[in-house]
């Protein structure tokens, strides 16, 4: 195994993207993800790639659309308000079945909000990133190592299913440094016969397009796309289970919230409470089965989030409301403490908060 290096999460994403064969990056400055752009600005010219600071997030996502149309791996990154601007492009990428990697290093909202870490773009990522029927694969790293690994995985899944992979990180994941190994295996890139690379006057022309004025046809496009989404749901859901087997109180948390919750679970176990943690690694597809299974023996679930409570809806749906699901949260850039989560565990376990 290669030697581990210390890297910021944002830098790990950039380096892993290059490792995955991405040679085109477009972005617009916004805290707390700017290190990705800075890293790309430094690296891309040296390896024959393109770094371009776009005039807006809207332009950036459309430059991504352009490169992706030609069949090459391409990415952009931003933080919450910038992702809202990109949402038009995300819908068009979906409508044209183009693969892309988009990174959201979340900050508190709504509006201009703040710049401290947040997870309040969960709805946007898993449900509402633009108009029309579409999904994105949403990957939620909880360490710098995962920032790198899920970036590579994100490119691979995007190509395989011809859709956008979104890395849903937050300010802490972007800013913190941890040892990371970049000894990551990258699968060969698939052929893209649909790409526009010039006909060489040797084939019928390709069109990259999301327009379809005949409703019967548009319905068919959507149905076909949802068949692909069904395959993603069947094959790609990922979660980490920590002490869930015998757990009576199960925490659901992703990203930084899961890191905090793990401390609380360890402390609860020391105090004799059977606590466990399910950490969704894919937020879409949501690892429903893992939750459904845990609901068979758990007496309570707690959704720990850096938001006013968004993932909790998926936890309730996945556990089919068999057991109570409560929320333990901070918002606006605040992070729950392990003590706060421990108190919630005790309360859910039937004791004093």
């Amino acid at each position: 195994m290669a030697e581990k290096v210390l890297m910021k999460g944002n830098e790990a994403i950039a380096e892993a993207a290059i490792l995955a064969g991405c040679r085109h990056y477009f972005g617009y400055p916004i805290t707390p993800q700017t290190e990705i752009a800075a890293y790309m600005a430094k690296k891309m010219p040296k390896i024959g790639g393109t770094f371009l600071q776009a005039e807006s997030e809207i332009a950036a996502i459309n430059m991504v659309y352009g490169v992706s149309s030609t069949g090459k791996r391409v990415m952009t990154s931003s933080s919450s308000p910038g992702i809202s601007l990109k949402s038009e492009g995300l819908s068009y990428l979906a409508g044209a079945d183009l693969p892309a990697l988009v990174v959201n290093v979340q900050r508190g909202g709504p509006g201009l909000g703040g710049i401290q870490p947040s997870q309040s773009d969960y709805f946007q990522a898993t449900r509402g990133a633009g108009h029309g029927d579409f999904r994105m694969i949403v990957l939620a790293p909880a360490s710098v190592q995962e920032m790198a690994e899920l970036t590579v995985k994100g490119f691979e899944l995007a190509d395989e299913y011809r859709m956008t992979s979104l890395i849903l990180a937050d300010g802490t994941m972007g800013q913190m440094m941890e040892p990371v190994s970049l000894d990551i295996t990258v699968k060969p890139q698939p052929e893209k016969p649909w790409a526009v690379t010039g006909t060489k006057c040797a084939r019928f022309h390709n069109s990259i397009n999301s327009l379809s004025l005949v409703p019967e046809e548009l319905e068919k496009f959507n149905s076909d796309r949802y068949e692909r989404y069904a395959k993603v749901e069947a094959n790609e859901a990922m979660a980490e289970e920590y002490m869930v087997d015998d757990a009576e109180v199960v925490i659901a948390a992703f990203g930084i919230a899961a890191r905090v919750s793990k401390n609380a679970v360890n402390e609860a176990r020391k105090q004799g409470i059977k606590a466990g943690l399910i950490r969704p690694i894919t937020l879409w597809p949501f690892p429903k089965e893992v939750f459904a299974d845990a609901a068979k023996h758990a007496k309570a679930f707690i959704s720990v989030e850096l938001s006013m409570g968004q993932m909790i809806e998926d936890v309730r749906l996945s556990t089919r409301c068999r057991v109570p699901v409560t929320l333990c949260n901070r918002a606006g850039g605040m992070i729950p403490s392990p003590e706060q989560v421990l108190a919630a565990i005790k309360q859910a376990n039937g004791g004093e908060a």
Binding site: L52, A54, E55, A59, S69, G198, S207, L211
Partner: protein, 253 residues
């Protein structure tokens, strides 16, 4: 028998959806003829806008992309930069697309001297949505959303795109032409060819503004619309070259 006129190879053999008397068909043909003459069909990638020419991706035989409204220059930037040596990239955009919703993308692609060709069709109205006021609608012009005539006090003045972009250091070539007569069509083709040749030569951002008509939404016959171009459009949008860096550099020598 000698062939004196035929459909360009780069133009697909399918019926277009444009209204009778619309000049899009002429401009499409000019672009296709230029692609044929330069022998670049196999490496050309065109980008269609949102607007009347939204379905241009069906009409050219080269590879095509349909863009979100106004975003064609940004997409063109991505396509060009993905393989600058082997891609010839053009956008085909209307006035609402290029000069209203996509103004930022237009200005910045020009400022970067992005090595692409932009065909800008200015007919002073939103055609596809049924005749609303455009950023280039003339003062006093009656449209669905300026039913009493465009009032500059209320909604400002029309934008002269070539003049505006000519203030930028970036772009290589900006010319305004029209297609309301045989002579003007020949001049328009010359400009379009130059705009593609500039890209082949690596010179950079080249935009040809084609002052065009919309008989349907202007509410006149095709002949009257062509005359209206002369009487009303050209006085506000004078034809000519607004920037030609190479010519300027030659002249300075």
């Amino acid at each position: 028998m000698a062939v004196v006129f035929q459909k360009p190879k780069a133009l697909a053999d399918i019926p277009m959806h444009y209204c009778p008397g619309c000049t899009h068909g002429i401009i499409h043909r000019l672009v296709a003829e230029v692609i044929d003459e330069l022998g670049i069909e196999g490496k050309t990638i065109g980008i269609a806008p949102v607007g009347c020419s939204v379905m241009a991706y069906n009409y050219f035989t080269c590879d095509m992309i349909e863009a979100a409204h106004g975003r064609a220059p940004a997409i063109a930037t991505g396509v060009k930069r993905s393989d600058p040596e082997n891609h010839i990239v053009f956008t085909y955009q209307g006035d609402g697309d290029l000069a209203s919703i996509g103004m930022a993308e237009t200005v910045h692609a020009a400022a970067r001297n992005e090595n692409i060709t932009v065909i800008f069709v200015n007919n002073a109205i939103y055609g596809m949505t049924g005749g609303q006021m455009a950023p280039t609608s003339l003062p006093g012009q009656i449209t669905q959303t300026s039913p009493y005539g465009r009032d500059p006090k209320l909604c400002g003045y029309p934008i002269r795109v070539c003049e505006m972009l000519s203030q930028l250091e970036g772009p290589e070539y900006l010319e305004r032409v029209t297609v309301n007569s045989v002579a003007n069509i020949r001049k328009a083709k010359k400009a379009i060819k130059k705009a593609f040749q500039n890209q082949i030569d690596g010179k950079g951002f080249s935009l040809v503004e084609v002052v065009s008509s919309c008989p349907t939404n202007w509410g006149m016959t095709p002949q009257a619309a062509l005359k209206w171009i002369d009487d009303n459009m050209i006085p506000y949008y004078p034809l000519g070259v607004y920037k030609d860096r190479t010519a300027e550099q030659e002249a300075a020598k």
